[in-house]
């Protein structure tokens, strides 16, 4: 019986091809728009997430405060107010997973006849963990290297390319500030950060080595910056509070005195960026859904016209034994078929356009099966929802009236 009805729905759709096609077009555009918008929105989210994940998650940086000498104020991290002992104390706090004191600056590297200026970061192994940075070639240095100030270095991909070209950098000796350093590992590529800075253009060396051989420090053990990673985003506020009170206590700051350090939430900026793209993609989806809704209303409109036109047919069917349920099913089936066919074409259109956007503009698009599935389900629902009223109207016709209809 359902098979016979599907056949009839097909016939009815074929009876007025232009009208069916135009009705379907509403659905095609609606579903197409949803697919395209979701692909673009999810693409943007994906791109931001990629960037965020390279930065490391749940990060704070604590910078030493500024100092004033003869009216000239240094910037942040100018004063030698933070030290390694502060960092060690922080790592005892609840909710803290990694603490990495760092000291960084720009220095010239030399290897053979090549040289390259880059950011040199002196830190502890915890830094690599906090930033979830892997080593693709060679190995990382350990805490013993920090204790004994060995001259070993991990280099970023950009440094490796510029300084060593085709050579394997691991085991080679390069110079930083006249000091020979042995390259023991190459870092995995992280690409650009949110500011567009190349994160691979860097060299990482043990903190003590950096302080003694490369930068030189006014007081031994003082650091300019400490990177702190919280265990989870929920733990972040607690960690922030803990660090602030710990540092005030350790630095013997009385109530009313300003902090002699700065604390910044690295993840906040990233989170807000992610939030922005999420909002954008929801907005895009919402706008696209409106066209889907309009498509559905188009179906309802045509089905209502169709019911009126076929009043007599409905009367005949009732006279020869169609139950209300049969008439309802018939018209509902027609609406759902139009909506499904429109949806299928819309999916193809959406995929085509999304891939086209990707090919011509290079914009990241993410086509997920779930997005396609969702729009398909929505289209089916729209078909049933907007097909229901006309179908019910048809089913509830009085057979005598319907038979008399000219």
């Amino acid at each position: 019986m359902l098979k016979a009805m599907l056949g009839e729905a097909w016939l009815a759709m074929g009876a007025n091809r232009l009208r069916t096609a135009l009705t379907m077009l509403g659905m095609v555009i609606g579903v197409g728009a949803v697919v395209i918008m979701m692909a673009i929105g999810q693409g943007a989210q994906y791109a931001v997430q990629q960037t965020i994940s390279t930065m490391g998650s749940n990060l704070y940086i604590v910078l030493s405060g500024s100092f004033t000498a003869g009216g000239v104020r240094s910037g942040s991290a100018g004063a030698p107010s933070l030290n390694v002992a502060d960092a060690e104390a922080m790592s005892e706090l609840d909710g803290v997973s990694n603490v990495a004191p760092t000291h960084q600056g720009t220095r010239q590297l030399v290897y053979g006849s090549q040289n390259w200026s880059t950011q040199v970061v002196g830190t502890t192994p915890a830094y690599l963990e906090a930033r979830a940075w892997s080593i693709v070639n060679g190995a990382a240095f350990g805490d013993s290297d920090v204790r004994s100030s060995t001259r070993v270095a991990l280099i970023g991909k950009t440094v490796a390319e510029n300084l060593f070209a085709d050579d394997d950098p691991v085991g080679k000796t390069m110079r930083i500030q006249q000091n020979p350093f042995t390259v023991i590992g190459v870092l995995g590529s992280k690409g650009q950060n949110l500011d567009g800075r190349d994160q691979d253009d860097t060299v990482i060396i043990p903190l003590s080595t950096a302080q003694r051989k490369v930068f030189g420090t006014p007081f031994l053990g003082s650091v300019r910056m400490i990177m702190v990673q919280a265990e989870s985003s929920e733990a972040m506020p607690k960690v922030e509070e803990g660090i602030k009170s710990l540092l005030r206590q350790r630095h013997r700051l009385r109530e009313g005195m300003p902090d002699d350090f700065f604390m910044r939430n690295l993840s906040a900026a990233a989170e807000s960026e992610a939030e922005t793209t999420r909002t954008m993609s929801i907005l895009l989806g919402a706008i696209a859904s409106i066209s889907l809704l309009v498509g559905g209303i188009g179906i309802m409109n045509i089905m209502l016209v169709s019911v009126t036109e076929r009043t007599r047919e409905i009367g005949i069917r009732m006279a020869i034994g169609a139950r209300q349920k049969d008439i309802l099913t018939q018209f509902l089936l027609e609406a759902v078929m139009i909506s499904f066919a429109g949806c299928l074409l819309g999916l193809l259109l959406g995929l085509g356009v999304a891939l086209g956007i990707n090919a011509f503009t290079g914009m990241v698009v993410v086509i997920s099966g779930s997005a396609a599935l969702v729009s398909f389900a929505v289209a089916a629902t729209v078909g049933i929802f907007f097909g229901w009223y006309p179908a019910r109207k048809a089913a509830q016709l009085d057979p005598i009236e319907a038979l008399r209809y000219q």
Binding site: M1, M5, A319, I320, G321, R323, Q324, I400
Partner: protein, 233 residues
């Protein structure tokens, strides 16, 4: 004789109009036995169409009882009525009422679709009825390709396809010329001879004369009920 096909007792139907309740049918009693061929006559407004709609289970009475093959259908729900129309009754209309987009065979098979009969069985049954009315060779044609008289034959084939107890024909010759009308009436006569009960609604006396029994309606009442005189045939 066994159970009458139709037994109507005190059947009435009133419609609500702007001027108040209008009684279209005021207490009709009628019994039709299996195998009868009966013509219902009367001028327009006499209540014969209302009576026909009630007999055809397209409408429900406001008073009285209607026993169709022994079952009281006066208070049945729409789905049960639809089932009766599908299994027990066969309709033939003045305007033929074939579905224009379907082949003749599909038109004839349509009642079987609603009866839930399988595709192959539907095809065979439809073919059998079309052959019976002499139109088997047009099985795949659309209704618009054949003449009015032929369309009415297809409509009769459709009415017969579910092997009903009763054929209800509402002015079946109203849209046909006199020669074609004769052919259609001859077909009804043949069907009745095979034992099919036929109820014919008409306002033309010479059409009614083909039936074996004639009843006449006037102002919502049954005013006469007699057998057709042989000379009229």
């Amino acid at each position: 004789m066994g159970e009458p096909v139709i037994r109507v007792a005190g059947l009435g139907k009133s419609y609500a109009t702007a001027a108040g309740l209008f009684p279209a049918l005021r207490g009709v009693d009628l019994t039709i036995q299996a195998g009868e061929y009966i013509a219902i006559m009367g001028p327009s407004g006499s209540g014969k169409s209302t009576f026909m709609n009630l007999l055809g289970c397209l409408d429900t009475p406001t008073m009285g009882d209607y026993f169709l093959t022994g079952e009281n259908v006066a208070h049945m729900q729409t789905d049960a009525l639809a089932k009766l129309r599908n299994r027990t009754l066969g309709f033939v209309f003045q305007g033929f009422n074939l579905l224009p987009r379907m082949s003749l065979q599909d038109n004839v098979a349509l009642p079987l679709v609603y009866a839930g009969v399988g595709k192959e069985q539907r095809r065979l049954a439809a073919r059998e009825q079309l052959d019976k009315v002499g139109l088997g060779k047009y099985a795949e044609s659309l209704p618009s390709r054949i003449s009015g008289g032929q369309q009415q034959r297809v409509a009769i084939a459709r009415a017969l396809v579910n092997k009903p107890q009763l054929i209800l024909a509402d002015e079946p010759t109203g849209n046909l010329d006199s020669q074609t009308s004769e052919e259609i009436m001859r077909l009804f006569g043949e069907l009745n001879a095979e034992g099919i009960t036929i109820v014919l609604v008409t306002h033309e006396p010479d059409i009614a004369a083909h039936a074996k029994r004639q009843v006449r309606f006037l102002d919502g009442k049954l005013v006469s009920d007699h057998l057709t005189e042989p000379s009229a045939c």
